[in-house]
Symmetry: C2
Subunit: 122 residues, 2 copies
Protein backbone atom coordinates (compact mmCIF):
# COMPACT_ATOMS: atom_id res chain seq x y z
CA UNK A 1 0.00 0.00 0.00
CA UNK A 2 2.78 2.45 -0.88
CA UNK A 3 0.41 4.98 -2.28
CA UNK A 4 1.17 8.66 -2.06
CA UNK A 5 -0.41 10.36 0.90
CA UNK A 6 -3.14 12.81 0.02
CA UNK A 7 -4.05 14.73 3.12
CA UNK A 8 -7.31 16.60 2.96
CA UNK A 9 -8.25 19.84 4.56
CA UNK A 10 -11.77 21.22 4.84
CA UNK A 11 -12.25 24.65 3.31
CA UNK A 12 -13.65 25.82 6.64
CA UNK A 13 -10.30 25.10 8.18
CA UNK A 14 -8.33 26.82 5.42
CA UNK A 15 -10.35 30.00 5.84
CA UNK A 16 -8.96 32.17 8.60
CA UNK A 17 -5.48 30.66 8.44
CA UNK A 18 -2.58 33.10 8.56
CA UNK A 19 -0.34 33.67 5.56
CA UNK A 20 3.27 34.66 6.07
CA UNK A 21 6.43 34.90 4.02
CA UNK A 22 9.58 32.84 4.38
CA UNK A 23 11.04 35.37 6.84
CA UNK A 24 8.01 34.85 9.09
CA UNK A 25 6.33 38.22 8.48
CA UNK A 26 2.57 37.89 8.61
CA UNK A 27 1.08 39.11 5.34
CA UNK A 28 -2.59 38.51 6.01
CA UNK A 29 -5.02 35.68 6.37
CA UNK A 30 -7.10 33.56 4.05
CA UNK A 31 -10.57 35.01 3.74
CA UNK A 32 -11.79 32.30 1.39
CA UNK A 33 -10.72 30.06 -1.44
CA UNK A 34 -12.04 30.42 -4.98
CA UNK A 35 -12.84 27.18 -6.76
CA UNK A 36 -12.81 26.76 -10.54
CA UNK A 37 -16.25 25.30 -11.26
CA UNK A 38 -14.97 23.48 -14.35
CA UNK A 39 -11.93 21.65 -13.01
CA UNK A 40 -12.76 21.65 -9.31
CA UNK A 41 -9.32 23.04 -8.63
CA UNK A 42 -8.76 25.69 -6.02
CA UNK A 43 -7.66 28.59 -8.20
CA UNK A 44 -6.96 31.32 -5.66
CA UNK A 45 -6.61 31.99 -2.01
CA UNK A 46 -8.34 35.29 -1.29
CA UNK A 47 -6.15 37.13 1.23
CA UNK A 48 -7.39 39.82 3.54
CA UNK A 49 -5.35 42.11 5.76
CA UNK A 50 -7.38 42.52 8.90
CA UNK A 51 -8.85 45.93 9.55
CA UNK A 52 -12.52 46.67 9.29
CA UNK A 53 -14.55 44.31 7.15
CA UNK A 54 -16.98 45.92 4.81
CA UNK A 55 -17.48 48.08 1.81
CA UNK A 56 -14.32 49.07 0.04
CA UNK A 57 -12.01 46.56 1.65
CA UNK A 58 -9.47 45.17 -0.77
CA UNK A 59 -8.63 41.52 -1.15
CA UNK A 60 -5.70 39.96 -2.95
CA UNK A 61 -6.40 36.84 -4.98
CA UNK A 62 -3.16 34.86 -4.83
CA UNK A 63 -2.68 31.76 -7.01
CA UNK A 64 -3.22 28.76 -4.76
CA UNK A 65 -0.14 27.03 -6.14
CA UNK A 66 2.05 29.68 -4.49
CA UNK A 67 0.95 28.61 -1.01
CA UNK A 68 2.67 25.92 1.05
CA UNK A 69 1.32 24.87 4.42
CA UNK A 70 3.85 25.04 7.25
CA UNK A 71 2.63 22.90 10.12
CA UNK A 72 5.12 24.38 12.61
CA UNK A 73 3.96 27.93 11.94
CA UNK A 74 0.33 26.86 11.51
CA UNK A 75 0.31 29.14 8.51
CA UNK A 76 0.60 29.11 4.75
CA UNK A 77 3.92 30.39 3.44
CA UNK A 78 4.25 32.34 0.19
CA UNK A 79 7.49 33.41 -1.53
CA UNK A 80 6.49 37.09 -1.39
CA UNK A 81 7.73 40.01 0.63
CA UNK A 82 5.42 42.68 2.01
CA UNK A 83 6.07 45.07 -0.84
CA UNK A 84 5.21 42.40 -3.40
CA UNK A 85 1.86 41.68 -1.80
CA UNK A 86 1.05 45.37 -1.40
CA UNK A 87 1.61 45.94 -5.12
CA UNK A 88 -0.31 42.83 -6.18
CA UNK A 89 -3.66 42.96 -8.00
CA UNK A 90 -6.69 43.43 -5.78
CA UNK A 91 -10.40 42.84 -5.94
CA UNK A 92 -13.06 44.73 -4.02
CA UNK A 93 -14.59 43.09 -0.98
CA UNK A 94 -18.00 43.16 -2.57
CA UNK A 95 -16.99 40.97 -5.48
CA UNK A 96 -15.57 37.76 -4.04
CA UNK A 97 -17.03 36.07 -7.08
CA UNK A 98 -17.78 37.32 -10.55
CA UNK A 99 -14.47 39.13 -11.05
CA UNK A 100 -12.60 36.38 -12.86
CA UNK A 101 -12.87 37.73 -16.41
CA UNK A 102 -9.99 37.13 -18.79
CA UNK A 103 -8.51 40.56 -18.04
CA UNK A 104 -8.39 39.95 -14.30
CA UNK A 105 -6.90 36.51 -14.73
CA UNK A 106 -4.19 37.83 -17.00
CA UNK A 107 -3.36 40.68 -14.63
CA UNK A 108 -3.06 38.29 -11.70
CA UNK A 109 -1.01 35.64 -13.44
CA UNK A 110 1.04 38.27 -15.23
CA UNK A 111 1.96 39.63 -11.82
CA UNK A 112 2.68 36.30 -10.15
CA UNK A 113 4.35 34.70 -13.17
CA UNK A 114 7.72 35.96 -11.87
CA UNK A 115 7.33 33.48 -9.00
CA UNK A 116 7.14 30.56 -11.37
CA UNK A 117 3.42 29.86 -11.13
CA UNK A 118 1.55 29.32 -14.37
CA UNK A 119 -2.12 29.88 -15.17
CA UNK A 120 -4.36 27.31 -13.48
CA UNK A 121 -6.69 27.13 -16.49
CA UNK A 122 -4.13 25.74 -18.94
CA UNK B 1 -9.96 36.45 -26.68
CA UNK B 2 -11.84 33.20 -27.27
CA UNK B 3 -10.57 31.63 -24.09
CA UNK B 4 -12.64 29.12 -22.22
CA UNK B 5 -14.67 30.62 -19.43
CA UNK B 6 -13.58 29.59 -15.97
CA UNK B 7 -16.18 30.76 -13.51
CA UNK B 8 -15.08 30.83 -9.92
CA UNK B 9 -17.10 30.20 -6.82
CA UNK B 10 -15.98 30.97 -3.28
CA UNK B 11 -16.02 27.99 -0.93
CA UNK B 12 -18.21 30.01 1.42
CA UNK B 13 -20.85 30.09 -1.28
CA UNK B 14 -20.58 26.38 -2.06
CA UNK B 15 -21.12 25.47 1.58
CA UNK B 16 -24.79 25.32 2.43
CA UNK B 17 -25.90 24.75 -1.16
CA UNK B 18 -28.54 22.08 -1.69
CA UNK B 19 -27.77 18.83 -3.46
CA UNK B 20 -30.47 17.04 -5.40
CA UNK B 21 -30.76 14.25 -7.92
CA UNK B 22 -31.85 14.51 -11.52
CA UNK B 23 -35.49 13.91 -10.54
CA UNK B 24 -35.32 16.96 -8.26
CA UNK B 25 -35.36 15.11 -4.91
CA UNK B 26 -33.33 16.95 -2.34
CA UNK B 27 -30.61 14.64 -1.00
CA UNK B 28 -28.90 16.98 1.43
CA UNK B 29 -26.69 20.01 1.45
CA UNK B 30 -23.00 20.70 1.21
CA UNK B 31 -21.53 21.01 4.66
CA UNK B 32 -18.01 21.70 3.41
CA UNK B 33 -15.58 20.83 0.65
CA UNK B 34 -12.41 18.84 1.28
CA UNK B 35 -9.32 20.05 -0.54
CA UNK B 36 -6.39 17.83 -1.47
CA UNK B 37 -3.42 19.70 -0.02
CA UNK B 38 -1.06 18.32 -2.66
CA UNK B 39 -2.93 19.09 -5.87
CA UNK B 40 -5.21 21.86 -4.65
CA UNK B 41 -8.11 19.99 -6.17
CA UNK B 42 -11.44 19.78 -4.40
CA UNK B 43 -11.62 16.07 -3.68
CA UNK B 44 -14.98 15.71 -1.98
CA UNK B 45 -18.15 17.53 -1.21
CA UNK B 46 -19.13 16.64 2.35
CA UNK B 47 -22.90 16.20 2.35
CA UNK B 48 -25.07 16.50 5.42
CA UNK B 49 -28.74 15.68 5.79
CA UNK B 50 -30.14 18.29 8.09
CA UNK B 51 -31.24 17.12 11.49
CA UNK B 52 -29.43 17.95 14.66
CA UNK B 53 -25.79 18.87 14.29
CA UNK B 54 -23.46 17.31 16.76
CA UNK B 55 -21.85 14.17 18.02
CA UNK B 56 -22.65 11.12 16.00
CA UNK B 57 -24.01 12.84 12.92
CA UNK B 58 -23.01 11.12 9.72
CA UNK B 59 -21.67 12.86 6.66
CA UNK B 60 -21.26 11.49 3.17
CA UNK B 61 -18.09 12.43 1.32
CA UNK B 62 -19.09 12.45 -2.35
CA UNK B 63 -16.45 12.79 -5.10
CA UNK B 64 -16.59 16.40 -6.28
CA UNK B 65 -16.49 15.30 -9.91
CA UNK B 66 -19.98 13.80 -9.52
CA UNK B 67 -21.51 17.22 -8.83
CA UNK B 68 -22.83 19.55 -11.50
CA UNK B 69 -24.17 22.98 -10.63
CA UNK B 70 -27.69 23.67 -11.92
CA UNK B 71 -28.27 27.42 -11.93
CA UNK B 72 -32.04 27.07 -12.36
CA UNK B 73 -32.38 24.86 -9.31
CA UNK B 74 -29.69 26.77 -7.40
CA UNK B 75 -28.42 23.35 -6.40
CA UNK B 76 -25.80 20.80 -7.27
CA UNK B 77 -27.12 17.76 -9.11
CA UNK B 78 -25.70 14.27 -8.62
CA UNK B 79 -26.60 11.12 -10.60
CA UNK B 80 -27.70 9.29 -7.44
CA UNK B 81 -31.06 8.26 -6.11
CA UNK B 82 -31.95 8.43 -2.43
CA UNK B 83 -31.20 4.76 -1.81
CA UNK B 84 -27.76 5.15 -3.36
CA UNK B 85 -26.84 8.02 -1.09
CA UNK B 86 -28.22 6.29 1.99
CA UNK B 87 -26.02 3.27 1.32
CA UNK B 88 -22.93 5.33 0.54
CA UNK B 89 -19.86 5.44 2.77
CA UNK B 90 -20.06 7.84 5.70
CA UNK B 91 -17.73 9.63 8.03
CA UNK B 92 -18.50 10.78 11.54
CA UNK B 93 -19.23 14.45 12.11
CA UNK B 94 -16.28 14.75 14.41
CA UNK B 95 -13.78 13.80 11.74
CA UNK B 96 -14.26 16.22 8.85
CA UNK B 97 -10.53 15.90 8.31
CA UNK B 98 -8.13 13.12 9.12
CA UNK B 99 -10.28 10.30 7.76
CA UNK B 100 -8.78 10.12 4.27
CA UNK B 101 -6.59 7.06 4.77
CA UNK B 102 -6.11 4.67 1.87
CA UNK B 103 -8.88 2.39 3.14
CA UNK B 104 -11.45 5.17 3.26
CA UNK B 105 -10.50 6.46 -0.15
CA UNK B 106 -10.81 3.03 -1.67
CA UNK B 107 -14.19 2.43 -0.04
CA UNK B 108 -15.51 5.74 -1.33
CA UNK B 109 -14.23 5.43 -4.86
CA UNK B 110 -15.08 1.74 -4.95
CA UNK B 111 -18.66 2.73 -4.18
CA UNK B 112 -18.89 5.64 -6.61
CA UNK B 113 -16.88 3.99 -9.39
CA UNK B 114 -20.16 2.65 -10.85
CA UNK B 115 -21.04 6.26 -11.68
CA UNK B 116 -17.99 6.64 -13.85
CA UNK B 117 -15.90 8.79 -11.51
CA UNK B 118 -12.30 7.77 -11.03
CA UNK B 119 -9.97 8.40 -8.09
CA UNK B 120 -8.94 12.04 -7.84
CA UNK B 121 -5.41 11.15 -6.72
CA UNK B 122 -4.37 9.35 -9.92
Amino acid sequence: MNKPVHPLIPADRVNGTDVCNEAGDKLGKIEDVAIDKVSGEVAYAILSFGGVLGFGEKYHPVPWRLLTYDADRRAYVVPLDKAAIEEAPTIEGGELSGWNDAGSREAIFGYYGRYGVGPYWI
